[in-house]
C-alpha cells in the first residue's frame, strides 16, 4: 500500500502514449495494473511515470485476421479473452488458461499485454504464446515492429519492449490442425504457479514450453510421445529456482510431468 509519488498521464492515442513513454525517463505503460500497482506498493521497484492506456479503446479488440490469425489487443482483459468467441474458435487453450489466472477481480482488470510485459516467471500466458508461435507487435517512435514470442521474453520482468515502445497486440497464428495443451501445478486451486507447461502439437512434433523453471519460458521440441517429451525435458538440463513452494529438484521433476500432460492435452485437440 501507500505508493511513492508517481507521475500520471492518460493519453488518448497510441501516438501520444508512445510520445509520453519516449519523453519521460522511467515511464511505464499502465494497463490493468494488476501487477505493477502491487510492485509499486512494495516500493522496491517503481516507475517514475505511469502512462495509463485506458482510453486507447482500439487496443482492447480481439479479432480474427483474414489469414485466420487471432489478434489479441494488448488491453484485452482475461475476462474478455474467456468470453471471446474468436478465441474459442481459433485457440481455445488461451481462454482455458485465462480462466486459471488469479481470480475474477483480477481477470476483470488484468490484460494480455500486462501479463506478457510483466513476464513474471509464474505467469501463464508467456509459455502459451511461445508454444503457439505468436508474435508481438510493438509500436515505438520509429514505427511498428514485430517480435516473435520466442524472442520477446528476455529475463525476469524484462522483455523486448524497448524504451518508448508500446506493445499493441499479440498475434497468434491459426491453429491449422495443430493442437494446444496446458498443464500447471499451482499452490492450491489456481494459486501461484509452481511449474507450468504449454504445448502445441502439429503432426508428430510437439513444441513444449516450460514456465517457472527459468527466468524466461523454455522452449523444447520433441516427438509428441510421452517418453520423448520427458526425455527432451531431461536433456534440457533445467536449473530451476528453489523456493518455499518447491526445491529445484521438485520443479525439475514436475517439468517432466506437466510437459507430458500438456502434450497429451494438445494431442487430444489435434
Amino acid at each position: 500500500m501507500l505508493l511513492s509519488e508517481v507521475g500520471y498521464a492518460r493519453p488518448s492515442s497510441v501516438d501520444e502514449a508512445v510520445r509520453l513513454l519516449a519523453e519521460n525517463d522511467g515511464a511505464r505503460p499502465l494497463a490493468g495494473g494488476q501487477t505493477i500497482v502491487n510492485v509499486m506498493k512494495a516500493r522496491a521497484a517503481a516507475p517514475d511515470v505511469l502512462v495509463d492506456l485506458a482510453d486507447l479503446a482500439d487496443l482492447r479488440a480481439i479479432a480474427t485476421a483474414p489469414d485466420g490469425a487471432l489478434e489479441l489487443g494488448a488491453l484485452a482483459t482475461y475476462a474478455q479473452v474467456i468470453a471471446s468467441s474468436e478465441v474459442k474458435a481459433a485457440r481455445p487453450v488461451i481462454a482455458e488458461v485465462a480462466t486459471q489466472i488469479a481470480d475474477v477481480q483480477v481477470r476483470n482488470r488484468g490484460t494480455v499485454g500486462g501479463n506478457v510485459c510483466s513476464n513474471d516467471p509464474t505467469n501463464h500466458l508467456p509459455p502459451v504464446f511461445v508454444a503457439a508461435g505468436a508474435s508481438m507487435t510493438l509500436v515505438g517512435p520509429d514505427g511498428e515492429r514485430t517480435v516473435p514470442a520466442g524472442e520477446f521474453f528476455l529475463g525476469v520482468y524484462m522483455t523486448a519492449v524497448g524504451p518508448g515502445e508500446l506493445l499493441t497486440k499479440v498475434v497468434v497464428p491459426a491453429r491449422d490442425g495443430a493442437g494446444d495443451g496446458f498443464s500447471a501445478i499451482t499452490i492450491g486451486a489456481d494459486g501461484t504457479c509452481i511449474v507450468n507447461a504449454a504445448a502445441t502439437v502439429a503432426g508428430d512434433e510437439a513444441r513444449v514450453v516450460l514456465g517457472c523453471v527459468a527466468a524466461t519460458p523454455v522452449l523444447l521440441t520433441a516427438a509428441a510421445g510421452a517418453g520423448a517429451v520427458r526425455e527432451a525435458v531431461r536433456a534440457a538440463g533445467l536449473d530451476p529456482p528453489s523456493d518455499l513452494h518447491g526445491p529445484a529438484e521438485y520443479r525439475r521433476h514436475l517439468a517432466e510431468v506437466v510437459a507430458e500432460r500438456a502434450v497429451a492435452a494438445a494431442r487430444e485437440e489435434t
Partner: protein
Amino acid sequence: MTTTAPEQVEAPQKGFAGQSIPRKEDKRLVQGQGVFFDDVKRHGMGFVHFVRSPYAHAGIVSIDVSAAEELEGVYGTLIGEEVAAQTDPFFEMSTPPGSEIRDYALAVGKVRFSGEPVAAVVAETRELARDAAELVEVEYEPLEPVLDAVAAAEPGAPILHDEAGSNVVWSGTFEWGDFDEALAEADRVVKIDRLYFHRFSSTPLECAGALVEYDRGTAQWTLHCNHQMPGIGIVWMAPALRVGSDKLRIVTQDIGGGFGNKITLHPYFVALCLLARKLNRPVQWTEWRTDQHTANTHGNERTFLDVEVPVRSDGTMLGFKVRAFDDAGAFPRYEPLGCIIWAQVTPGCYRWRHVKVDFTQTCTNKSPTAPNRGYSRMQQLWFTERVIDVVAHELRLDPVEVRKRNYIRSDEMPYETPNGCVYDSGDYARCLDIALDLVGYDKLEERRKDAESRGRLLGLGIGSTLDSGTNNFGQSQLLNPELQFSGNNEVATVRLDIFGEIVVTLGTTPQGQSHETVAAQVVADLLGVTPDDVHVRAGHDSYWNSHAGFSGTYASQFAVTGLEAVKGATLALADQIRRLAAVILGADGPDDILLKEGMAERRDMPEAALPFMACGAIINVNNAGLPPELDDVTLNCRYVYRPPFQVPDTERKFGNLTLTYATQIHACVVEVDPETGVYEIVDYAAVDDCGTRIHPQIVEGQVHGATAHALGAATFETFPYDEDGTLLASNFYDYHVPHALDMPPLKTGSIESPSPFNSLGTKGMGEGGGAGIHAVCAALQDALRPVGSPIVTESHNPYHRVWALIREPEASRAGIEVSER
C-alpha cells in the same frame, strides 16, 4: 453438507438458548456499518509508520531521524532511546534467565528479528509517513542469527538477549506416573527420533492497529483498537508506561478476527501512547499484511525429540517420554505460558498414565510467538495423534482400533489425567463412529481400489483432539511459583433502563464469536423476554465497569465464563425486579413474582402485573417513597464469574488447569497423485461435542473455521525463514490461505455431553484442537502405504514434501525403531 441430529444427553432446553436465532451482529456487518479500528477518525490525527529492521540480528550503531523530521507534513518521530528513557521493560513471566530479558516498545540497542520496529514516524497522511520512514537512517552492525530452537539452546549459539546470557526462556521437567515402570510393563517400545510441528499463524484478515488519543488534563490514553485481551494488555502496558491501569482506556467495537494474534499488541500500543503524548495529537497506526506476517506473532513451533512409547502387545499404550523444544521467537511476550498450556491436554484423548516430558523453550531470531488458535495444545495434540498413528503403523495395528482401545471412555468421566487435569465429559469413541460413518468408512477399501484405477492413492486419517477452555491462570505458577496469577474471571452488567430497555455490557472482546447474540439468548430466557428486547452493547470499553482482570476473548471460554457472568448478572437483575414488583404489586415476596413477556406479574393474580418499563422508570426517575428494603435495588447489576479453581501444586506440577474439554473427532480422506505429490481432500467429517449448545449454527460455524485453519496449516500455510533470518512468506502470495476452491466439502456431526462443571452445561469450543492437521498427516501416511510406507514426521506437508516421501520412504523411517522387551 450432512449434519447428524444432535443426540441430547439431557432433555432439550426450553426457550431461546439452543435455537439458532438470527445474529444480532449481522445487520450492521452486512451493510458495511461495522466499526473497525481503522474506521475511527479524529481531527488532526497523524499516521504512524514503523521503520523496521531488515536484519534478523544486528546491533544498532546509530539512528538519524533528522531528514525525516524535516520533511513537510511530518509531525514527529520516536526511537528506542526515548522508549528506554520513558518506559520500563515489559513484565516477563519466566524465571531466570528468561526473566532477565528486557523487552521494549521499540528495539533498544539491537534488533533481534527481521521486521522488528526500530523507529516510528508520524505524518499528516499515510503516504507521507511512509515517505518519511524511508528517510530514517539506521546503521546496523550485523550479527549472526540463530534460527532453530534446538540450536539456540546449544553452547556457543549466538545469544539474543545478552542480559539473560542464554537463549533459554524456560526449561523444566514434568514427570507424572512412573515411566520406568511403564517401560518394564511394556511388550514393545517404539522410538521416534524427531517430530516437528511447524510455524504458522491464523493471519486474521484485519491486521492490528489503533487510534490512540492522549488527554493531557486527565493524563489518560484512549485506545480505539482491536486488542483481544484488554485485561492482560493493560497489565503489560500500564506498568511499562509507569501509570495506573485506569489511565489506559481500551475501546473495541468490531474486530476482524483475532485467533490469539491480537493478544500481544502491547509493544506497538505503548509506542503509540508515547507518540500521542509527545506530539499532543491523536495518532493512528494500521499494521500492514506484510508487517503482520513478519512482525506480529506466529504460532509456537515445536520440535519433539527422542520419543519413547511403551506399548503392550494388544496395542495399549502406557504413556510416553519426550524432549520438547519450543521456539518462542525473539521475545517471550505471552511466553513462557506455552511451556505449560500444553499440559492441559497432556495425554490427548488417551488413557496414558506415565509421562515424562523435558520441555525447553528458547528465543530465536524470528518473529515473536503468541497464542494462536489451539495455542500450545494443538502442538501437543498433534504429537499424541502422530504417536498413535506411528505406533499403529509400526505394530501393524488398525489406527481406528488403537484409538478405541486407548481413548478415555465416557464411563470414566470426569477423568483425572496423570497431571491432575479433569476432563469433564465426552464420548470420544462415539464421536469417532459418527465421523467414520460420515466419510463412509465401511466402503473404504472399495474407494481405495477406485482411486487406484484412476492412478491415485487414497488414504483415511483421523484427528482426535480436545479444546480445553477456561484457563486456570494458576498454571503460570507451575512455571514460576513467584507469579501472582491464578484462577480466572469474566464480568457482565445487565441493567433495566428508564424505558424498560434491557442493556447488557460484556467484558469480552468478540472477533466474530457472536457474543451479542448468545448473551441475548441467555438473558432473554432468564427475564422472560425475546432476544430482540435485549440490547447487548457492541464491543468493549474498559472504562465501563464491565472489565475484569482476565477480560477478553481468547482461550475458548466465553460459553462458560462470559455466559456465566451474563447469567449471574441477569439473575441478580431478575431478583431485583421481583423484589421491586413484589412491593409495588403487594405480593407476599419476590418468589411470588413471575417474569414473563416483559412483565413482572403476581403468580397468584396474573392481572396484577408491572411492565419492565414501569420498573425501570420507578427505580431510575420515580423513586420517592420506596421502602428501605429496596435501598439496594438499582436494576443495574454487575456480576463477576469466577470459575471454581484451586492453585495447582507447584511441587508436583499437578492440578486442574482448565474447566471444560470440548471434543473434536475429524476424519479425512485424501487422494494423492503419486507422480507429483499433489493431493486433494475428497471427503471430510468434523464431529464436535461441546456440551450444551446455546446456538448450534454458531457452534458449527466455529467448527468450519477451525477446520479451515487446520487444513490450511496442513498443506499451505507455513512461515519458513532463509538462512539470514528473512521470512519467506510475508504476503498472501507465498502464505497461501485456503480459498473457496481449496476447501473440501465439509460434513459435520455433533453430540452433546454437557459439562458438569458449569450451570449451563456449556464448553468453550472456538479454538478446536487442530484436528484437521492431524487427520491430514494420518491420511497421507495411510495413502502412501503402497509406495514404501513412509512415515509423516512433520505437521506441514506441501506437495513437494509428499513427493519427497514417495521418492524416499526409507529416509522418513530412519528415525523410527521398535524394540521388543
